[in-house]
């Protein structure tokens, strides 16, 4: 690791201003991913701007939404009474991610900004278009067990590793960011992008922008939410496939439904077709299977991850069954 410069910022304005002047700088919050990437030489900023003192840690609610500060810790959000009561899907997703220690460090904003866990991205001796554009993709034709089946490009088949973001996608959250040019709001589902021809960019955040908060609009999914995470060991592992399922039920009838998957794409993968199909239908195994089948349209696997074509629909059915109380 190079011996970078380190400064602390105490206001959003100061942080943004410092970064704008720094040239090659980055914000650091929990550091769980950034420090790791710096140790591996994947990134080597000349300057780190510590934003932990910024006043962005609160979870607040008003009549129509809950707003979570970007520096709220993953553990605090997962244990927050308001979140557990009104948005249990988010709490479940957060608790299924990483470990208690990492959740005590990782922030909501940092979780959104985490990079892929693709082994070719992490190893500077390997080709990777995300790390070094034009160097090729090691995962295509390589060991791609953890990799994407949706929205891939010939440049990159990496997945976004977050659980939290899958839930926030399903919950149609809104991200507020600030930058040198002022502040703007981004629908959560638009925040992360597909790899396309520029996989080096994970999201649509512009240079110098800082995530301030995430808002979740009020909903009535609290009673019928489930986050299912399938992985290679019982805990402390990234998802092979994960599903965020949220239902609004009237008896056995599905009034509204939200579905998103993790571990299958370069961004949290919203299952809009399945949502549309299920709306107004009965919560039944047959309908869940049909929804899962619809969700797999366009899926493409790369060898080691062929199993995801089978595992993903099974996971969708299981998550819907759990959310609806069928199993």
């Amino acid at each position: 690791m190079i011996n970078f410069q380190y400064v602390r910022a105490s206001t959003v304005k100061e942080a943004i201003g410092t970064l704008a002047k720094a040239g090659d700088g980055q914000f650091i919050a929990g550091g769980t991913n950034l420090v790791d990437l710096m140790k591996r030489g994947v990134t080597a900023p000349q300057k780190l701007i510590d934003i932990n003192n910024l006043p962005l840690k609160d979870v607040k609610s008003d009549k129509t939404s809950i707003t979570i500060g970007a520096l709220a810790l993953n553990s605090d959000v997962s244990e927050n009474e308001l979140i557990i009561k009104q948005q249990p899907l988010l709490s479940m997703a957060l608790k299924s991610g990483a470990s208690p220690q990492l959740r005590n460090m990782a922030t909501v904003g940092g979780n959104m900004m985490q990079r892929t866990r693709c082994p070719y991205f992490y190893d500077t001796a390997m080709p990777c278009n995300k790390r070094k554009p034009g160097s090729g993709c090691g995962a295509i034709g390589g060991y791609n067990r953890m990799h994407a089946i949706f929205g891939t490009s010939n440049q990159c088949i990496a997945v976004h590793p977050s659980d939290m973001c899958v839930a926030l996608t399903a919950l149609e959250a809104t991200v507020t960011v600030s930058g040198p040019k002022g502040s703007r709001k981004i629908p959560f589902g638009d925040f992360h992008k597909l790899p396309g021809q520029n996989p080096e960019k994970d999201n649509i955040l512009q240079k110098g922008e800082l995530i301030e908060s995430v808002s979740i609009p009020e909903n009535d999914f609290a009673k019928n939410s489930y986050y299912l995470k399938l992985r290679d060991r019982a805990s402390y592992a990234f998802a092979l496939v994960s599903v965020a399922a949220a239902l609004s039920l009237d008896g056995q009838t599905i009034k509204a439904c939200r579905l998103a998957m993790g571990g299958v794409a370069h961004k949290p993968w919203r299952l809009s077709e399945a949502e549309k199909f299920l709306a107004g239908k009965k919560a039944s195994a047959e309908n869940f299977e049909q929804a899962a089948k619809l969700s797999m349209a366009g899926a493409k696997s790369f060898g080691y991850n062929d199993f995801k074509l089978k595992m993903a629909p099974a996971a969708i059915v299981e998550a819907l069954s759990k959310a609806s109380g069928l199993s």
């Binding site: 011996n3 410069q5 790791d36 553990s75 208690p100 990492l102 805990s235």
Partner: protein, 213 residues
Amino acid sequence: MKPEDTSNEKPHRHIKHTERRDFLKKSSLLTAISLAPGSLIKAAEAELDEKFASALEQLPLSIEVNGKMQQVNVEPRVTLLDFLREQLQLTGTKKGCDHGQCGACTVHVDGKRVNSCLSLAVMHQGKKITTIEGLANGDELHPMQEAFIKHDGFQCGYCTPGQIMSAVACINEGHANSKDEIREFMSGNICRCGAYPNIVDAIADVKNGGQKA
């Protein structure tokens, strides 16, 4: 270069002054000082530049470790783990993976368990750190330490400090209400010897005994 080429031996004696100036120009800290003072160049030529490098590339840090205030200077790139182990000689906190993948480096920062390997020391200005060395009250072991001995919650002992720090936090967080819950909330601490069932028994025992931090 051929194998018999030994021109690289004792490199410092062969490096010319101009090359050392090159080094100074490249040094990231000195980019902050737009003009390197002449005296610094002279010092560099006397091979004192490394000492300057250390002095200038370090930041002051006030940090409380196990109840003792430490006023130190550290490079920003030093992790909390390496700071504890290499600078304070508090080697009870272990390095198992250095990448947040094993939990051996778990310490408490202001009472919360964290992986010290993924945390920069400078990020803990004014914070209170508790390591395994600070858990016992003098010669009187913490109930969790006693329970680990009683239940044989370790073999080689290397993951043990991390397990114990994590276990204390696990109860304080309210995540020790069943053995399954303990298993889930202790899963960030890997034990390769496989003492898991005994660790879970130890935590359950302390929880039943009504431990508070």
